[in-house]
Chain length 376, copies 2
Amino acid sequence: MGTVERSGDDHTSEMESAEEEEVVGSGELAQHLLKSGVTRNEMIAAITNRLHAEAMASLPPNVRRRIRALRTLQKEFVDIEAKFYSEVHALECKYEKLYKPLYEKRALIVNGTYEPNDDECLNPWRDDTEEEELARAVQNAAITEGEEKKDDKAIEPPMDPNVKGIPDFWYNIFRNVSMLSEMMQEHDEPILKCLQDIKVQMHEDPISFTLEFYFAPNEYFTNTVLTKEYLMKCKPDEESPLEFEGPEIYSCKGCEINWNAGKNVTVKTIKKKQKHKSRGSVRTVTKSVQADSFFNFFNPPTLPEDPNSTVASDVQALLTADFEIGHYIRERVVSRAVLLYTGEGLEDDDDDDYEEEEDSYSDEDSGTEEVSDVED
Amino acid sequence: MGTVERSGDDHTSEMESAEEEEVVGSGELAQHLLKSGVTRNEMIAAITNRLHAEAMASLPPNVRRRIRALRTLQKEFVDIEAKFYSEVHALECKYEKLYKPLYEKRALIVNGTYEPNDDECLNPWRDDTEEEELARAVQNAAITEGEEKKDDKAIEPPMDPNVKGIPDFWYNIFRNVSMLSEMMQEHDEPILKCLQDIKVQMHEDPISFTLEFYFAPNEYFTNTVLTKEYLMKCKPDEESPLEFEGPEIYSCKGCEINWNAGKNVTVKTIKKKQKHKSRGSVRTVTKSVQADSFFNFFNPPTLPEDPNSTVASDVQALLTADFEIGHYIRERVVSRAVLLYTGEGLEDDDDDDYEEEEDSYSDEDSGTEEVSDVED
């Protein structure tokens, strides 16, 4: 898996803080722009351009001319770089085929169709004895700790020792990965327990990829696969070629879910009482509204066909988040599923939530807290 | 330029916040680990392993066995992935050669050896008229604003209109890019004004790259080039192969700077008064200590030869920062120099400093602030 794509175009936001300090100095322009109803990002972009122009204006014309020559060279660079990224994408397509047999075997093991032999269960780089011992120690500790611990776990019944495959494999990944667990609602959980596999299909031309979610037969919908396609571009933008940073997702397509009657978790019906204006009689109407659900992932907002038309900023924000999730599923979830299941491969993907908390910890503080917890 | 390398191994720190909440539940282990003098990161890693083992222990043995089979598959995946990254590195080496003529022409223009012709100064994707008009408007504004503005700029004399090349091109990049400006001290500035070019040399086997800093003859040192070499590895670690995330820098080498007498900005002499214990007489001794300077970049801390020996955490932190800087110079500075000079390509690379500030701004707040600034 390469890490060369960026999800969404966050170029403007990247510049925000760098330019933050200078915004004040261009107050007049800012006021003008605010009056004309531009967004903050558009404003910052305009001010950045203005500052750029100001810096340029203070230079002698011949120096400005040379800078323009460097920009021409930069455009040539970007055109070559685009070819580099196309070659990387072709490599990714080639390697996806090499990974495929591994993914297929994984699916067979997870879903209990294939039982691995002893050789396949050896992890020679790992001290298995140590792992076994630790596991045994933990089990012993659980026994000696007695009733209290058992009560804690009373809600979850122990797993049937004769169970097939690895139950709830993908569901547990959803629970472990915060980017996914944040999307998952309580009513999604029984459906996601039927999730049997996630596959990526890479397409070389036009460059794009499809995420395929395979489900066991279930009472919620009749589909066996739900798909989400991400379309990418790997060419510098004609109007602002120097902003090119490699392939990026620019659009996505969902799929229709054939929900069984009364099982659609993405809508909820709300009842409303309406009073007749003149007669004063009251009637109750039911209205369907969108409900929070992971399955809204398959019904993303659509972009206007005209690439030049402006997209509402809330739609843009939704799509940016959606692109990030699609990118993350392709890059990490599919390729490292077992590590996300065990928790080893969990990244700091909830950076934002914990940033401040982390800052306020020093090594010593955290240590002291631990110790006092134990002494209680 | 690819973006496939990670600088330094920050795997442990990535897991910190994800595991933060669970640390409390493993207080006893934490206490034990703290007593044995491990660092916080090592502690979190140990607790993560313990939690992993606990989760494993609660599963029936046949399920645990299947998870081990998935880990074997994951190791196979990682071995194939390492080949993918090697191919990407080979591609990067190939493209570096394609970029080379552009970089060479850039150096000629920057240093005034070559004057670009009109065709080379065309930026057809950009509305030049608009840029010219804005530049003129800014100049006019500066004139009508009168004395006050002139006073502000009094410190910087206007540039000689017959100047050659683009004066202080690289020095201005150092000023604009916060990662570099933070390293630059006042005494470094006149030296960095002599910086004429930064080049990257890619090496295919063993995979590595060298940053070359070319200087005009100057009174500070006799070197014409200062070099910094970064050594990378692209193979999964034998003991923890599943942590593999692609090529990473693992070591770097600086170069000796032949400072002219009294010109070494990386050392400062401090005078100390010493009192003789018995005689009570006082003498003054001078002592050389390291001074803050960008040029310490060429004298990084060395790693112990034995890869298994532990590195002090402060040295490790210095090296991690150093690897990030080397990676950034290669990835962004060399390939996008003109955009960093003009300010267009500045990234949010001082994310950490501004994170909180950004959080506290809403679009509206910032807008109001702008307006009130103007009304003052």
